[in-house]
Structures are given as C-alpha cells and as structure tokens.
Symmetry: C2
Subunit: 255 residues, 2 copies
Amino acid sequence: MNDTPNPTAGLIIIGNEVLSGRTQDANLRFLATRLGDRGMPLAEVRVIPDVPDVIIATVNEMRARYDHVFTTGGIGPTHDDITSECVAAAFGVAWEPHAEAWAKMAASYRPGEFNAARQRMATMPRGATLIETTVSIAPGFSIANVHVMAGVPRVMQAQYDSLAPTLPRGRPIVACAVHATGVQEGRIAAGLSAVQARYPALDLGSYPYYRASGNGVAIVAKGTDAAAAAAAIAEVTALFIELGHAPVAGEPPAA
Amino acid sequence: MNDTPNPTAGLIIIGNEVLSGRTQDANLRFLATRLGDRGMPLAEVRVIPDVPDVIIATVNEMRARYDHVFTTGGIGPTHDDITSECVAAAFGVAWEPHAEAWAKMAASYRPGEFNAARQRMATMPRGATLIETTVSIAPGFSIANVHVMAGVPRVMQAQYDSLAPTLPRGRPIVACAVHATGVQEGRIAAGLSAVQARYPALDLGSYPYYRASGNGVAIVAKGTDAAAAAAAIAEVTALFIELGHAPVAGEPPAA
C-alpha cells in the first residue's frame, strides 16, 4: 500500500443565483464524484456572491490551502460575470486579451458580432491556459492550480472532461455500502463506533433514509483501501443481522 | 424607504456525504429561499467535512462575520455526528447534558432504549436553547447567533420553521424576472449593463437556459425595492423587444 497522501481539491461556486435559492446547484455533486474517482477528493466547497473582494479573498485562501481549486460560474459576457478579472487580481497579474482565445472567438462570430461583451470572454489573467470544449465558443482557463469553469452544468462538465487529463491522480476513493430497513441509528451506534475504531483509515458514514417502502439506515465505508472497506461493511452486515435486521448490500434504491 | 441594512446569514453544511458526492444537498436552496423572503439573505455557504478542527474554525469564522449562522448535519447519535461537541468547543463552553432535552428524550424511549448514543443527542453546549419539532425526538439547538440543525431535509425544514419566529427580519428580498427564447447574452450585455448602472441598489442577474422548446436568457432583478425591480425589468423587456425578441414575464418554465 502506497502511503503518499492523496492530492486535495477545493471548489468555489460563484453566483448570487445559488445563494438566493433561484438556482439549484448541480456542479458540486458532479465534481465531487469525479474528483473522488481520480483520488483527489473535494475537501471544502464555498458558495460566494458576485462580489469582487469576496471572490479575490476566497480564491487566494483556497489556492493556498488545496492542491487544486475549481471555480464555477461568472465567466459569461454580462456585467455580473466577473470571475476572470477577480482571478487575475487574486494572482496579481494583468487581465488582458488572451491571443489564442481572442483569435478563435473572433473567427467564430460573424463580422461585427465579436463585440465588447464577447471580447471580455477572451480576456484572461496573463499566463492562463485555455480549457477548450466543443460545447461552448468561450473557453474556461487554468492559472497555476486554479481552474476557472462555467456555471452552466453541461458546459462545466465538458470543461472538466477536457481538463481532467492534466490533473494529478491519487489512490481512488472507493465506497462499499450496506443498508437495512427498520434499523434505527441509536441502536447501532455503539457497534458502528467499534467498527470505525478498527478501521481508522476509513470514513464510516451512517445515513438514515426515508422511503415509501420503509425507513432505514445506510452505512457507507469510504477510503483508498477497497479490501478494508469491504471488510468493515461485512462487520456492519453482521451487526445488522445480530440485531434482527435483514441487510441488503449497497446503497438503498433512489427515493 | 428604510436604510437600515438587512441582517446577514451564513450556512455551514457539515458532512462528508455531500463533499463525496454521495448525497445531493437540498438544504441550501430551502434556507436560501426562506432567508431571502424574511430579508436576511444568505451571504455565504461552506460545505465542510466531519473533521473537528475544521468545524470549530469554520463556526468561529462565520459567527464573527454574519448576524446569524445556520449549520446542517452531524447531530445524530452515531460516531460521525460531532457537530454539537465542536460548537461547544468553538464557543469555549462545556458540552454537557441539557436538562430539558435529556428529560424529554428519556421520556420518549422505552426503558433501556435511551442508551449512550441517544444520550449524546441530549448533550449540548452549555447555554443552548432547544429547537424542538414534532418530526424528531432529538432537538436542534441555538447558542448565541449559531443555529444547529439536522441534515435530513424534512427534519431541518421543521426545525427552521420552529426557529424562524425568533429570527430578525429585514426588508424582504423581492425578485422580478423576464425571459425570452433566442436571446444571446453577448448581444444584450451592453444594454443590460446600462440598466444595472441605472439601478445600482438592485442585483441584476443574467441566466441562460436550455430547454427542448428553445434556448434563451432569463434576467432577474433582485432587491428590497419592489418598484425599482419592476422598473428595471420593464427596461430589460423593452431591450428584448428592440432586439427583435418576444419577452415573456417571469422565469422560464422548469426544464
């Protein structure tokens, strides 16, 4: 077993529309899953407003703290899209036309249509590397360990897929689960705690569920050691049986 | 018009299951909407893991920064439920049996069933005030400006409803919207920017949408001045018409 620590990731969701409840974020879960699969788990997420000082301070705090930082939102052409210039300010570099992005975008629009608003989308922190996709004319970009992506999920997902080959990998985070209807957390807590103590490198989570077919609890073991996760879940399965329940492997069915 | 600033709110979502992508958070949007309606808008959200030092530091940073702070998750009976003791540590107060919670919980279980794990749910920071509901035997609690609630959405929502009468109100944040299919953000950006400049107290957001019936853009004006929001959206509506589009009042239909 390799003891090199896994690289860490942070996510900054930039957008008043998420903080106001207008928009249900869908990017956190996508990135959390993909980053866990590649062994660079998400350690923290911040949802912040379209306010320059807040964006600049948050980018600087997170890029110092995590190996890689992803941002979503605020890279379109309108006045509320200020992520790119704030990232430049966070790095203390010029915010200037990116020659390659500018040329490609200029060639994609009809004469006169590559206007000032669209030109802003080709304006980036000096030193940025493009994140290009086929689903959007305007690219995302990376600067050092910060990766700036769109807020629209289908664009963000394509940008992540384009970016992923350049990201480090760690030992993948794997999960093993068991669930049983009728289980109450308060009755299994002591037994679970003992299992967790025997597998200190695993993260053993207990998650109640509520279904028309019955309420119960799912236990999920996560970590980089698949055999340990399976062994811990086998112990939890035995605990469920000992308490008179009928455990079922895996997560409960979707609600 | 009243110029008292609105009170501010912060939210801390505590749970490895959200950071790993296992669970889609549903609490952010509920709280964002309810807090906006009462004029105490959500200014920042953090999603953090079940790690004591991280929870303690985040609670202390957020409670200093915002008028009210809400936490969701980590108040059940299992080993991964550590929010309550971390909040006590953040405030530097004892974590001890809460007499009222203890008596009520002890009375709710059959003899012998109020075990050590369940007793943890009646153990709280000294000085905590209970947040009680009919949907859960175990209460949430408030200490100073920090409100500690469950992660399970139906329990959290009942706890919020129970807590809400004790929270301050500000001028409600109201929204006015217009949308049109076929609009491209890059063509309306300059006009929108001019509208935003004329209504500096409003937050004018531009949100592309993608529907089988057609793609377009929704413009939402938010603020505490309903008349200004309506006037700004009237100007955006005129802008849409000028550019040859057919604006429709309100948000686009759900996808």
